[in-house]
Symmetry: C2
Subunit: 556 residues, 2 copies
């Protein structure tokens, strides 16, 4: 089947300059959609790889994914697309496009330009180097982690840092990360560096930009300092109580088939549309898939601990509602995409924490859970109250592992990683110093003595994939979540009552309108929050939320 | 991730003419593999659509599949690829390529040339028309079938015929179906037609070529005449016995989970590699997926009739072994692909019939079946002998529906369709005449009175998809299967004994070497059979097989 795009021939600049803005925009969109369809196919291949693919297909799948990536790069680099964007840029410089296009359409021009620049800023040799490095580095990390031997992973991490710096240098030259370039220039001047002297100040800013576009590193630093200053003493207070809430009724033998049925039910009740998506199982839960009409999320179940499967499901449902809630009018164009990783995470955390960890939720969900698990072995569960569930699900318990952390200690796991990775990229510390630094910070922030790197600096896969600048989005997400939920509570009369009755559609609808459908219309998460609440992202609101909630739970 | 191919720049003819055959071949293969990776991705999308996809994704999936098809067409039409093939064609005309390339590699040149010609012979407008028509026509057929109202489907079938003729005309012009063109020319001369007078003789030959390359229509006619002449009286003889074997122990409540376990076990025992494929469930069983290392087959289970799920599984396992058995040295190139639909069907039918319907198989498989179904309700099954199973699975029972037909009546279902579709394409009958003609032939061949078109000419989806010339491959497959199994029996000492013990790997290995690994090395199925057995495809061997087997089963 041939596509309409096949007949869209490249036009000369002269031809383009005589066309209307609307016509130029339409031509842009035809090409953008073709790229989107291709990347959607890639999204399905990647979902399948995690959920369905048999092991011997690893190599052939890599070939397929890589072929699609090559073709997508080819479409993005097409001179004809570049010419259309250039012409639109020219128009934008001399006229107000809003006479011809609505704000979503104007955003599509900005976002397409950025995506094309991103895709074409790197030499293909470097792109291949990165792909090969990620694959090797990831294997090395897996082995190093198994043996708890950081030295095995260290050379690969060093190579990742070198490569990321090279990448950022190219991006700076291409004018992609202006903020980062300015920081770097300023530092060079203040340090009195010569042209051939290296300086990596500002490089972390460039990495943040990839995951949380438009978010400035000095703001991040302030937010994280404030969190650290307030959360470390909060944890100390909780610890000092020397008391823990009972959660024994959440342990025992929870039949996986029944957990599955329960999780599916909760996901559907929250609003996951199973006619436009699937919930399956994978080693690491994630939300992906090809399209807003086909959102694939996964979870994982542990037979002897029912909390994991359920919270993963609710978390991924939050991500999925964002994806399913994208604006159909702009499907397959960038403005319909999520604004940033942080905002995406805010949607999963809002449902996981603000809803799934609430008294209201358990008042509704506990009877359904009891219905599912009626065996004599679950008599403790049968006897538990919603209040007990609330407290069991909200235990604060400092531990080594980030993905198992509660919402109080979680930000410190992130801040620790942020501090280390930023210093690393900017050249203030070496890779060899990581384990000691990590362990010292774990002691300082959470009072824990790390005994093996497996439980410390080798626990996460992110660095092995070159994902540096990514961790902060988890905590930005928590702060966004608190502020967004606050706005929802103000806007929706009797929200608590609705949640108690399991009437989640009220909240979902509000999020659909105010977050999901907005897509990437705004320029940053800060922008979105400001537009919604009249305030920028504010760590003190998050601190207030934690303090109030846990003061009550632990009677501080 | 960028691919190596991105850096393979187009070269001028002058540059190409100074390169070695080996270098030209390598450049061809790089491009061919890129197309293969893309089509593999498409294969996964299509599998997912049938097995996993949620309903609301229908439109977005169509966009994705269509985008990949467009890109694939773009790669196939690339002038650089055309130049490489042209240069290789030039070389082939003046030198013996076998000094530089092995027979598989030489076949790759032939097959690539054909694939490129096929893909580029049609104007893109026509390709779009066909895609749109298939979609509309398929919907119309589904409705017509539901209402048993042929008139609703008739205009779409007429349009299909018109479009197919247009397609063949383009292909004849492009020199794709020389045999068909010759037949047409000869007919025009013998009928004394003028240039502007229409004549569709030979058009059916062109359609056969798509599914069974190199197979000539006069041979097909002879084979089918011979089958009809012999099978109609064989059925009459069986009917005259007025006796039926008991199969009541195959009915009743067969738990689907247990059927699934049994089917998976049998598929694995036969040799399906679950590390390089999956067995799932879909409405219509099929074998597909992206790659020989990732073969996706499906089956379907009926709770009250265990024969269906099992025979579908064995049938699809036969297809899958072909796919998994492709030559790894030539993965992602056309020579590793199956030779034809008929040969592919021979592999599914060989396992389904020669093995799955044999006494040997049931001697092995019945105890495993009894292990699975031990409920008191299955006491008849528990009491059944391998001999009874053999007879129950080999009942001859003329019926209206092709997909439910036994191996004796099946060829008549095909011959009926073949006769009708050939006359239709060549203009000897009109669409309106189909129902009467169908019903008359059903009466003549199987002695049945068709009461509704739903049970007659509306039962199959093929024509609605424009699949004309496809049906004969089912019966060619049965004949191939008998001859291939005959050759295997000659080559493998004690094959029957191996099958009785469930030692299927002996047969699988022989098929791997002699059929699967050979891929598309030979020019036609006839060629392959001749090479293997010293004989061409021979309907009398099939007749002998049926006659001997059913004379014994029905004591004729």
């Amino acid at each position: 089947m041939l596509r309409a795009t096949m007949t869209v021939l490249a036009k000369t600049s002269a031809e383009l300059s005589s066309e209307s803005v609307r016509s130029l925009y339409n031509q842009l969109i035809v090409r953008v959609k073709e790229i989107s369809h291709l990347e959607a196919a890639s999204g399905l291949l990647q979902w399948d790889q995690e959920v369905m693919m048999p092991p011997k297909a690893a190599d052939s799948r890599a070939d397929q994914v890589s072929a699609l990536a090559g073709l997508s790069h080819g479409l993005k680099s097409a001179p004809a697309l570049g010419s259309i964007l250039e012409e639109l840029e020219k128009r934008q410089a001399i006229q107000d496009l809003s006479a011809d296009l609505n704000p979503f359409e104007i955003a599509n021009i900005r976002l397409s330009r950025k995506a094309i620049k991103d895709a074409t800023s790197l030499p293909s040799e470097l792109v291949k180097t990165i792909a090969a490095l990620n694959s090797k580095s990831c294997n090395a990390w897996a082995e190093a982690r198994k043996e708890s031997n950081f030295a095995k992973f260290a050379p690969f991490l060093e190579e990742q840092i070198r490569t990321l710096r090279e990448k950022v240098s190219y991006q700076m030259k291409a004018g992609i990360c202006e903020e980062a370039r300015k920081i770097n220039e300023k530092a060079r001047v203040s340090l009195g560096l010569k042209d051939d002297e290296k300086c990596y100040k500002g490089y972390y800013q460039a990495l943040i930009d990839e995951y949380e576009p438009g978010f400035k590193e000095d703001r991040l630093q302030l937010l994280f300092n404030d969190l650290k200053k307030n959360i470390v003493p909060l944890i100390a207070k909780i610890k000092a109580k020397n008391f823990q809430h009972d959660n024994s009724f959440l342990q025992g033998d929870f039949d996986v088939a029944k957990q599955t049925a329960y999780s599916h039910r909760i996901a559907k009740e929250i609003g996951f549309d199973t006619d436009a998506g699937r919930l399956d199982v994978s080693t690491h839960p994630f939300t992906g898939g090809p399209h807003p009409t086909d959102v694939r999320m996964t979870t994982r179940y542990t037979a002897n601990y029912m909390m994991e499967g359920l919270t993963s499901t609710i978390h991924e449902t939050g991500h999925s509602l964002y994806e399913q809630g994208r604006n159909p009018e702009y499907y397959d164009t960038p403005v319909s995409q999520a604004l940033s990783l942080g905002v995406h995470e805010s949607q999963s955390l809002l449902w996981e924490r603000m809803v799934g960890l609430s008294r209201q939720f358990w008042t509704y969900a506990l009877p359904l859970l009891k219905e599912q698990f009626q065996e004599p072995s679950h008599q403790n569960l049968q006897a538990a109250s919603a209040e007990q569930m609330y407290k069991a699900f909200n235990r604060v318990d400092p531990g080594f592992i980030r993905v198992e952390a509660d919402e109080v200690t979680y930000p410190l796991h992130i801040i620790l990683r942020y501090e280390i990775e930023k210093s690393l990229v900017e050249g203030d510390i070496t890779v060899a110093e990581i384990p000691n630094l990590w362990n010292a910070k774990m002691k300082e922030y959470l009072g824990l003595d790390v005994t093996e790197d497996r439980l410390g600096c080798l626990q996460d896969t992110h660095w092995a994939f070159g994902l540096i600048g990514y961790f902060p989005t988890y905590t930005l997400g928590s702060i966004y979540a608190v502020q967004i939920f606050g706005a929802a509570k103000e806007a929706i009369p009797n929200l608590d009552e609705h949640l108690t009755k399991g009437e989640f559609h009220v909240l979902k609808k509000w999020l659909n309108e105010n977050i999901h459908k907005q897509g990437s219309l705004r320029e940053s998460g800060d922008d979105l929050i400001h537009h919604l609440t009249g305030k920028s992202l504010d760590s003190s609101l998050y601190v207030q939320y934690l303090t109030a909630k846990y003061t009550e739970i632990y009677d501080l």
